[in-house]
Amino acid sequence: MSIKKLDRVALDDWVEALIRDHNVCGPQVKGDRFVYERLGSAADLRLDHDVTILPPKKYLLPPAEVLLRFTRGGLFSSELAPEPLVLFGVHPYDVAAIAQMDRYFTQDNPDAHYRARRMGTAIVACDVQNASEDVFAACMGAATVRGGFDLLLTLVGETYVVESRTLAGDALLASAGRLADADPVSLGRREQVWLDAEKLLRRRRLRCRPEELPALLERSYEHPVWEQKSRACFSCGSCVMVCPSCFCFDVQDDLGWDLTSGTRQRRWDGCLLTDFAVVAGGHNFRKQRRERYRHRFYRKGKYLRERYGFVACVGCGRCVVACTSGIASPVDVYNALVEGQ
């Protein structure tokens, strides 16, 4: 647990060393955007990315994941051996979202599958160098992070300051060889990067504090915004799929070709999808688009906040980009409620 300094050449050498010993995933270019992918070379790593299409959620709660294997004879066995992983270059808002998932999945009825993946995952966070157009992480208190990572990288001028917070972080940093301690000037410039992040990551402005959302929503259940916005909703679920703070899933059995054994898989699901609240017999408890659309913003701003203590939005702006109809922005919706009081 230390704070060191490394230049760009040393960073590349260190990443190459990590790639030799670990499964390292980090932001890379895909077309004109960025994605998290397994790193084959330090040259592919883009710590200057603005935002990735999908959040690193996909590594901790994969889009499809085998929970268990079964035989038709009634034998069940857990599938619990995830590959250890180093997530390299995670932005602060995504670190904040992972901390929410940790709270959600590992306390009260702990989820063994999430836990196994999370225990095997080291997080190398990286302060934001370029902001995406729709980011509002600063409004959600997620422009910078003070915890929830093993290592934190911050670009100050032409060098990186790297801070280790855990023994796992120390172990990863050891493969960088001997590094100089971060000097007071660099640490001072890092403080400035954090101050700048509060401005940089505020491209959209939420007109209330996140902790005011439960009370705001409490009096907004019949607000016209739900009907107005949801009229354009295709119920495609894109907003929830790209969201780092949406964790809902479906579970299905897949019988193998031998018809005697199979797997039970969970897959991402979302409350915006038409059949999310359908029960046996066909009754849909959220039949209207308006009801499904509203539920998403209530779950994020009120229900999870009241139950687990966090607002399930970190201001990454991915939903804003993903939504074909341009109605998914939490900032637009919550601001409409603020104005319509």
């Binding site: 929970l67 609240a277 229900y303």
Partner: protein, 282 residues
């Protein structure tokens, strides 16, 4: 309400326990009663009103209410209506077929706390009799602990009535008031005709002493509650059981949310006072 206690952190809560179909009995054209046993030989340790997640290997998993009272012999019962893939696969099971069981999950009827010493009124609509039956058996097994026991049962038609032997037994018993009605009579039917709410004023409910346990389709609650208000029963003396798509049973998958409540953790049994202002509840 008391939720099921959490197992240690290492346990995989999604892993079913092997169980076996001991027997199955057709109750109506679409409802089947299953007697099940955990292969471990252990007891399910449920309370009336709780549910289990039942796996038919190859077909999938579905939440089903337990319809028997807690037993000492490791056997328990469920009623399944044939409506979907898992329930159809269950109906096709034979005795000896292997299943998987997770649970019990959720809250239960307050048979040990609130209901002790009070009059108990059961209001069962259709297949809602199945979850209530676990509490009815519990109360009748400890009959001296409770005051008057009244059972109101409504179905759409006489052919949809389940547990005919038990209905006959309840109507014979001196210590149970049993009233039943059907929405539409057939040639064989000599009893009451009409929806279940017509039985409520006839039941002679003493609002100062009665605890009402209601279970049925969502639409039934709307009208039953109004009829209970008419005889001065207050919200806090009404318990309802709400059905949702409880996929995981442990508050993770998000499917069973009723506004901020989870049917699998905060329910399925709710005190009506706790949900009367919850918009998505009824």
């Amino acid at each position: 309400m008391i939720a099921a206690t959490s197992p240690p952190a290492a346990a995989d809560l999604y892993l079913p326990e092997p169980a076996t179909v001991v027997s199955k009995t057709l109750l109506t054209a679409t409802e089947m009663l299953f007697e099940l046993r955990l292969d471990s030989g252990g007891c399910l340790n449920h309370m009336p009103g709780q549910f289990v997640e039942v796996t038919v290997p190859g077909a999938g998993e579905a939440p089903v209410s337990i319809c028997s009272a807690p037993g000492r012999d490791g056997l328990f019962e469920i009623v399944v209506r044939r409506v979907g893939r898992v329930s159809a696969a269950l109906h096709d099971c034979r005795a000896g077929q292997k299943l998987g069981i997770r649970g019990p999950f959720g809250t239960h009827y307050p048979v040990e706390r609130v209901m002790k010493g009070r009059d108990v009124v059961f209001v069962a609509g259709g297949i809602g009799l199945a979850p209530l039956r676990s509490a009815i058996h519990y109360v009748l097994d400890h009959r001296g602990d409770y005051g008057r026991v009244t059972i109101l049962y409504g179905t759409r038609s006489p052919l949809e009535r389940m547990f005919l032997d038990e209905l006959a037994d309840w109507s014979r018993r001196q210590d149970v008031d049993f009233l039943q009605t059907v929405d539409r009579a057939d040639a064989s039917w000599r009893g009451d005709v009409g929806v279940i709410t017509k039985l409520v004023p006839e039941a002679g409910i003493d609002p100062a002493r009665a605890v009402v346990l209601a279970c049925g389709p969502p639409i039934m609650y709307k009208f039953v509650v109004v009829s209970l208000y008419a005889v001065d029963v207050s919200d806090s003396n009404i318990y309802v059981s709400l059905e949702r798509r409880m996929k995981c049973g442990i508050g993770k998958c998000g499917h069973c949310q009723i506004n901020g409540l989870y049917a699998c953790l905060d329910g399925p049994v709710f005190n009506y006072a706790d949900i009367v202002h919850v918009q998505e509840a009824i």
